[in-house]
Symmetry: C2
């Protein structure tokens, strides 16, 4: 993040003096905000502003910010919507550069509200005031104990997890739950309608924040996706995981989010693809958000296998099922490890992973320590997870012995380690201190959420290890071309190194006959027109035509098209050789309003149409990325010669698709979409057979 | 359940006198079991038996059960494996009819252990002793306060949820978690290796148990599936939900369960199909098991839509996403409901479902009550779920007001109602009593698990409403037939009303020519041999043959087959008309070792082979069941004329498949499998083109 932006956010999030503008003891918000200074132990100066003056919250109120006559870092505006403009003017004159706006009544209402929000944004820019909100609950800086927060403090447990949320109430629920699970926070920032500061910019700030190790997001929409993408890449390099819970997967949500904070909920699949590409861990519930944050706040993820142990065979089986369901890679134990475990365990024990330490550990808790040591010695084990419930009070002698043994085991190994509770439970002070005393990382989300969190951490570590940062699309050379029709699109792609099917255009039947004889048999003939997208629907296509019948086919096409589309401009008829048996792929590039150009790849026919079997990526992509996209397809086995079908060269296919992606990017930001359908892959060759380009402005075809 | 079996289980689960056999203060198990009588407040008589006599657990020990000289209902055997036989003899002589065997060292070890278990079973049968175990932890009857339980009591919260588990330690974890979530239990039964009593028989008992409203299962394998199926059908009729967590979905589990309790983990998909058909709610985690049990223990499920409300727009959106993800049907609000909500809410509120009651409810908690009333008045709403966290201590004045308002709202409506916590949290006594005070059903599993539980309840209520109990397979008439080859199978199916392709057999080329001319062109010719399953692999098939070429085709087939399979018995060559364009289905019946004959239906080709896109059911099925199976297929849209393909009559297809299922059942229990592949469906006709039957004994082909 650039220095200026950083300093301004510092001024807000570490404000040493704060004014409550519109303070009144009749408002729950005002009372809440004032009380929170005391609750959190704010050490800066607090000012109270109300046009009527008087004593408010036990403090002499100034009638305006100007009247304060002091340097103030930030103001909380609790004035009614219609008084906002005047309040900003006052802030401007008092030299206050940061404001948090609680007030609602803006874009979340649509219509007039959206207009009001645009005026607010313009005014703030004009006055040089940084805004958080409107329609937000404020923020809490737990590290420096700075709250500009208008409802109850949801937690006081400080830690290294930052929470940034477009919904303030949801942030509050998440933070409260985090506190109950022993997960301490560095910041909560509620960004509301994001007229100025937004989630992406706060994330960008937090990447450089020393107190923050994990960044949690609650999103209703992606705004400023380019900033978020850049920040996410910096976070991945810095080893700081971002975990995102984004609503909007359901039809109903897309509707109600509009009502809630004036967001337009984007295509969920696009966001999902962006997360996978940027190394953002996407979770589907508050429970998973907090469990994953809790794990990552304590454990440095590694990409290798996991060793699991428990004192119940049943729980080991539950864990094995869950690991498979969430894609967690359990380590395959080596023979020496298995031998060593056989030595440790009683006769009826079996040296599996997950490892049941058996009832023998009821009599001998140190079996936990020794088993942990053996598991961790396995070359395939990067993390040891012990499934056991941390006691919540000093009453359970056996459990305390187990915890001590687990602590001893964990301390003696190089692998990462974590204790997972078997069922979800709160982390009370006693549990937290006991874990700390024994140096144990503890996640109390239960086996189900806990293993899911470990799977996410493993995925993240692998993503980090890939270490090939996305090239920035804007750095690619732009080409001054504007293809539109099939032929223009294919010619343009050919100029960019994409193999395309040979084609020549005929404008009368005799020419068609002569070209056909040059190409040789059999042929495909297609109408060439900038006005016709679906050629076969209007009789504009003839397939498997022999050269002898080319002239007839030409005439039939012209007659059929003239009847169906009398107004269409006709360039002629394209003649190409027919291609043999191959696999048809669809390669589409579409500009997402938030994330920019996205690449979609799928197999043609039912696979795309019926099964929606496509893989998505932000552009640009490398051929290696496209290989991974092909692997993701459910139909992927068809590429390898399924049931006697053609087997194609995946590397060649990937290379051609990457070229198509680059060719689309080079057309610049006005490109709306470019589609190659089909891209035909045969055992010896990959070739674009048809293409179409659409542009984002009126004069496009 | 039959009276005799019921009385015997009563004798065990309600034992009024119990002997601890092999008691010793040096054993944690013995100490635990003895202490549990006191902890739970057992009111029956307790006897202690040890061959050495003396004072144990503060009681004078008898040297044998015989020596007790009293009527004893049940014994807990804690003797070593090798002393079990003598102990059972002692029980027999003392007239004790029920024993719980803690000891391990049986089938869970495989090999010798399995032999020992068979001997144990035979001995117990011989002596007329009912066994629970071996390798189990016992049981707890919370209603009558009878524990034969060898580790710590996991909970003391009595209630209406029974827990039956093949793993004792897992049962203990589940019960402890249930207690923490405020879910009270009627029984825990740990069945271990199930040499005698098994989960199915305990379920059968619990269906008639007045204290039990919900039955939870933790399963490692399905044993005695017929008993479980019958009990499940009785439970569904009785309105008593069964919720099952069955491990064994992963590869690793299948291996480690073997080690754990000697179970063979069956095909997970078969179990899944059985659950769906029998109305057993299947869950995938302990968390979901307890959340669903907690809901069903308090709420009578109905099949209609759900109305949801919360005080946070963000949480409403989380809820909407989750509802869609778990298939929970939210009610579509009627216009009068929306109008009434608009009246209630402030201007910036929107009358959606889930309903955000807005920040206005911060000032006016009664908005909860009025919103609940309006939602419940909607004709589409059968259940109202309010998302709000129950306070855990009497400190939060606003929260208490909300809870009171929710209680008022719930009390005034006819719809079912439940309060769901927003995040998972324990149910402390204060919360539980507060909920009780206000008459509120409360589930504290959080939105994610909570809505999942409601979705399960909704599914269960619909399943119950379908009200067509499975016919019992054994009641169907058996037919004395034994088809094997293609022709025999098709002829048999034809005799059972299944349309099959006409076919005639030729034994020389001249006959082939003459039959071919009678049938008319074109034809399919296939080798007829009981020894050849894959005809086309050996050159045994010729398609699209004109009558003029039938004699040649005949000769080619005979030559090719004679070369490939010189030893095969040849009945001749089958001639059939070629069929036109249609949809090929695969219809297979296979006997599952546990569940009996299962029907699998799928579309041919990639759908079955690559995508494993099949639907499964226990037989028998009705045509209506098969309609539902067809709807479940991912390829289902192909049946409706997708992309210009043939459109088939689903009712006719379903009817024919149901007939095939009945025909397979009628072949009796020695049938291993019967497959029709393909069943060809065309717009006007459905017809079996090929079939094969396999039998479960040596003399089958």
């Amino acid at each position: 993040m650039q220095g200026g932006a950083r300093a301004r956010l510092d001024g807000l999030l570490r404000a040493r003096s704060i004014a409550l503008v519109g303070a009144t003891e009749r408002s729950a918000w005002s009372n809440g905000a004032f009380a929170n200074f005391g609750r959190l132990g704010y050490e800066g100066s607090i000012h109270v502003v109300n046009p009527k003056g008087g004593r408010i919250h036990g403090v002499n109120a100034a009638t305006s910010c100007r009247a304060l006559g002091q340097q103030v870092d930030a103001a909380l505006l609790m004035v009614p919507m219609h008084a906002i403009e005047e309040a900003l003017q006052d802030l401007h004159e008092a030299g206050i550069g940061n404001a948090v706006i609680l007030s609602s009544g803006f874009a979340e209402l649509g219509g007039d509200g959206a207009d009001r929000q645009m005026s607010l944004a313009a005014l703030a820019r004009d006055k040089g005031i940084h805004l958080l909100g409107p329609n937000c609950l404020g923020f809490i800086n737990f590290i420096d104990r700075v709250p500009i927060w208008t409802i109850n403090l949801p937690t006081r447990l400080a830690g290294n997890v930052a929470l940034v949320s477009q919904s303030g109430a949801t942030a509050s629920y998440i933070a409260e739950f985090a506190g109950r699970q022993g997960v301490g926070l560095s910041y909560i920032v509620s960004t509301g309608n994001e007229v100025d500061l937004n989630v992406a910019r706060v994330v960008d700030y937090l990447v450089d924040d020393d107190a923050t190790r994990v960044i949690c997001l609650f999103l209703e929409t992606s705004r400023d996706a380019q900033t978020l993408a850049a920040a996410a890449q910096r976070a991945l390099s810095a080893g700081k995981p971002i975990i995102a819970l984004k609503i909007g997967t359901s039809h109903i949500t897309a509707r109600s989010a509009q009502a809630h904070t004036g967001s337009l909920v984007g295509d969920d699949r696009v966001f999902d693809a962006a997360c996978r590409q940027l190394g953002i861990i996407r979770v589907q519930s508050v429970d998973d958000l907090v469990a994953t944050a809790g794990l990552l706040s304590q454990v440095q993820p590694r990409s290798g296998g996991v060793g699991v142990l428990a004192i119940s065979g049943g729980i080991c089986e539950v864990a094995a099922d869950r690991a498979e369901a969430v894609g967690l890679q359990l380590a395959e134990l080596s023979q020496p490890t298995r031998d060593a475990l056989k030595q440790l365990l009683p006769d009826f024990g079996t040296p599996h992973n997950p490892l049941d330490v058996t009832g023998a550990a009821m009599l001998e808790p140190s079996l936990f320590a020794s088993s942990i040591g053996v598991l961790a010695s396995d070359p395939g084990v990067d993390l040891v997870a012990c499934l056991y419930d941390m006691p919540g009070a000093p009453l359970q002698k056996y459990s305390e012995q187990v915890i001590a043994a687990v602590g001893t085991g964990f301390a003696a190994i190089d692998a990462q380690s974590v204790l997972l509770s078997i069922t979800p439970r709160p982390v009370v002070d006693y549990s937290r201190l006991l874990a700390k005393h024994h140096g144990i990382a503890y996640v109390a989300a239960g086996v189900d959420r806990g293993l899911s969190a470990i799977a996410s951490a493993q995925w993240w570590a692998r993503k980090r290890g890939e270490c090939h940062p996305l090239p920035v699309a804007n750095d690619l050379p732009q080409i001054d071309a504007r293809p539109a029709t099939e032929r223009q699109t294919l010619d343009y792609l050919a100029s960019q190194g994409v193999p395309v099917i040979p084609a020549r255009i005929a404008t009368d039947a005799a020419q068609a006959r002569s070209i056909a004889h040059e190409i040789g048999s059999p042929l495909a003939l297609k109408i060439a027109s900038p006005d016709i997208a679906h050629k076969s629907d209007v009789g504009g296509v003839q397939l498997n035509v022999s050269p002898a019948h080319a002239a007839d086919a030409y005439r039939q096409i012209r007659v059929a098209v003239a009847a169906s589309c009398p107004q269409a401009r006709i360039d002629g008829v394209i003649l190409s050789p027919m291609r043999g048996n191959g696999i048809e792929l669809l390669v589409g590039i579409v500009r997402d309003p938030q994330w920019g150009p996205m690449l979609a790849v799928g197999l043609g026919g039912i696979w795309v149409e019926l099964l929606k079997d496509t893989s998505l990526r932000l552009l640009p992509v490398t051929a290696t990325d496209v290989r991974a996209m092909l692997d993701e397809l459910r139909a992927t086995r068809l590429l390898d010669g399924y049931r006697g079908g053609p087997r194609v060269d995946r590397n060649e296919v990937a290379d051609v698709i990457a070229r198509i992606g680059n060719a689309a990017l080079a057309l610049g930001p006005r490109l709306h979409s470019l589609e190659v359908n089909p891209l035909l892959a045969t055992p010896g060759h990959v070739e674009a057979l048809d293409g179409l380009t659409l542009w984002n402005d009126e004069d496009a075809p």
